[in-house]
């Protein structure tokens, strides 16, 4: 007797999904739990964690931002292998502003966010017409090249980097600033991707030619998506510069390119929540494995392979499915 798995939406999902008149607390709780858990979790965690794990939480939020930025780009059909470009450009802009002209962090971070977005967009503008793996390779090469240029020309402090940035007022400001922006990005851009605008972006990923046929200028949309994504990355870089009080060549390191991809692959692409979930899992894991030294990169490579091959949809869609649907085995009709 052959059987197959049948998935049906839960009753509560059907009731609360389509009809916008919520009739019971159960439905309200059902709808709000997935939204409230991350918000409340991220807002409360800094209060109960010690200083060390607070720093870990900070880097969770930073990598979540980078992963969200990667996911937005990937949704638009641009797979970037160089998030470090965005991170690094943002870091260097705020670093230079603060180091040479003494601009305070609360002015230099927004400037770096916008300027970083503009500069990265202009840098990648010539390659927007490339698709697939060619675009990825260009994004992989640019950060590597910028590192070498900084090394060779000795601009911005060369190999030593710039030190002595103004720190943010307190560690609470650091944590809550990054977490706040991350939550805004997560929910705001999730909403954006579900809107008509996001539909166009995802259409470009699925079939760019038919979007062109619909009379939409896909390059203009791609430019906008690129600006959004690179601004998010630049913000992450700018904040981290003021946290470390240092900016140097490590901001273009492979970590900042590979880790966001790993986070999205683990969490599940397409839903920015998956990217955030991936960062929440991977960053503490990599901290816990710090004792293994170089071996943790090996673990994390194996992790990446297993997830790409065995669970390509990621963890978040799995959880989402379990939350919204129930499953049962039914006999296959003859």
């Amino acid at each position: 007797m052959k059987k197959r798995k049948e998935r049906i939406d839960r009753g509560i999902k059907a009731r609360s999904g389509d009809i916008f008149a919520l009739s019971s607390y159960r439905e309200m709780i059902y709808l709000s739990t997935p939204r409230l858990v991350p918000i409340i979790g991220f807002l409360i965690l800094p209060l109960i964690l010690g200083i060390y794990w607070q720093k870990v939480l900070l880097s969770v939020a930073v990598f979540a931002l980078l992963a969200i930025s990667w996911d937005i780009l990937a949704q638009t059909g641009m797979v970037s292998l160089g998030q470090a470009l965005f991170f690094g450009v943002g870091a260097y802009i705020t670093g230079a502003l603060n180091h040479y002209w003494g601009v305070p962090p609360f002015i230099s971070i927004p400037i770096a966010t916008i300027m970083g977005g503009i500069i990265c967009t202009l840098m990648l503008l010539p390659v927007l017409r490339l698709r697939g793996i060619y675009f990825s390779m260009v994004t992989m090469i640019i950060p590597l090249m910028l590192v070498r240029v900084i090394e060779a020309t000795k601009i911005f402090g060369g190999t030593e980097g710039l030190t002595g940035m103004t720190p943010l007022p307190s560690r609470w400001v650091e944590v809550y600033l990054v977490i706040g922006i991350m939550l805004i990005c997560l929910f705001g851009f999730r909403r954006m991707l579900d809107s008509d605008y996001g539909l166009v972006l995802r259409g470009i990923c699925d079939n760019d030619r038919s979007v062109t046929n619909a009379g939409i200028n896909i390059y203009w949309y791609k430019t906008q998506a690129l600006f959004i994504a690179s601004s998010i990355g630049a913000f992450a870089g700018a904040v981290m510069t003021h946290v470390y009080m240092f900016v140097g060549m490590p901001v273009f390191a492979l970590d900042y390119s590979m880790f966001p991809i790993a986070a999205v692959v683990v969490g599940g692409p397409g839903t920015l929540a998956g990217a955030t979930l991936g960062a929440c899992l991977l960053v503490p894991l990599s901290e816990a494995l710090r004792g293994f030294g170089g071996l943790r990169i090996v673990f994390y490579g194996i992790f990446l392979v297993v997830f790409t091959v065995a669970i390509p949809e990621g963890i978040f869609p799995y959880i989402q499915r379990k939350y919204n649907q129930f499953e049962r085995w039914v006999e296959v009709d003859k």
Partner: protein, 290 residues
């Protein structure tokens, strides 16, 4: 000085060509992205080293063993990992890059770093060519390079297997209708590509030491040469390796060693932007841009 630079630039070009050959075979000719290529190169060198120093096998046998070992590993990687993500270019890149990362970092973790990790040159001597000292190992590299290039050219143009390799890169579905088993060919492509990496490592590594961080450089160089030359074009790869080889040596001598990597990366970037299929690539001109 100029003749010396030219001679070393020639040798450098052949080294680049040797490095790129295997990558060109897997990625360029048969379209399978193997970003663990640099790791295979380093892995085969370490395998030879372990065979010589821990198992005390003769040099020749160790080399043969390491080439076969790398080829088997390549085939295994295709069957276990790549087969499941075939066709999704980005997943292929992420999975193979992660495998390469794991291999290289594992060697680094196990402490395989230092000057004692080197391979002996085949013949430890040097000769004088037009007033420049050149060691015999570099001459061997040039000869090996020429032989391999000719073998590869003959293989991809005159044997049915080589034609099948090019077939699956050009159009996998059409290749299937001609009875080409794309999984089998792709396995072979990854495996033979890994074998080429092992051969390249065997002749090139005696010039220096084995170090895990070289793995990333090797991958970058192979990528640069293959893309500039044009995917799937053996002649283009040769041309590109001479272009980059000469550019690297000349910037090293006349501008500064910091700039060598920038020159090749800038060349790569310009080619990708202007003509992503490479200077000599004819395939897929339609699919790479919109």
């Amino acid at each position: 000085m100029l003749t010396g630079t030219i001679i070393y630039a020639l040798i450098n070009s052949v080294i680049l060509c040797l490095i790129a050959m295997g990558f060109n075979l897997t990625f360029g000719i048969s379209g399978v992205a193997n970003f663990a290529y640099g790791a295979f190169y380093i892995l085969s060198a370490y395998t030879t080293w372990i065979m010589i120093n821990s198992f005390h096998l003769p040099y020749f046998l160790s080399v043969i063993f390491s080439i076969i070992f790398t080829m088997v590993l390549g085939a295994l990687m295709y069957q276990v990992v790549l087969k499941r993500v075939r066709g999704q270019a980005i997943s292929e890149v992420i999975a193979t890059f992660a495998i390469g990362l794991s291999i290289l970092e594992l060697f680094r973790y196990l402490g395989f770093v230092g000057f004692e990790y080197n391979l002996p040159p085949f013949i430890d001597a040097s000769i004088v060519i037009m007033g420049t000292y050149v060691d015999v190992q570099r001459i061997i590299i040039v000869i090996a390079g020429i032989i391999l290039i000719m073998a590869l050219w003959f293989f991809t143009h005159n044997t049915s297997l080589g034609l099948a390799f090019r077939g699956i890169a050009q159009d996998e579905r059409t290749a299937l209708t001609f009875g080409i088993d794309s999984d089998k060919i792709a396995t072979l492509a990854v495996s033979i590509g890994a074998g080429f990496a092992a051969i390249a490592a065997t002749v090139i590594i005696p010039l220096g030491t084995i170090s895990p961080s070289d793995g990333y450089d090797i991958l970058m160089k192979a990528l640069a040469v293959c893309i500039i030359g044009g995917l799937g074009s053996t002649g283009g790869v040769i041309f590109a390796s001479f272009l980059i080889g000469f550019a690297e040596r000349f910037t090293d001598t006349f501008i500064g060693s910091h700039w060598t990597m920038i020159v090749s990366l800038a060349a790569l970037l310009i080619v990708l932007i202007v003509k992503p299929s490479g200077l000599f690539g004819k395939q897929k001109e339609l699919e790479e841009r919109i």
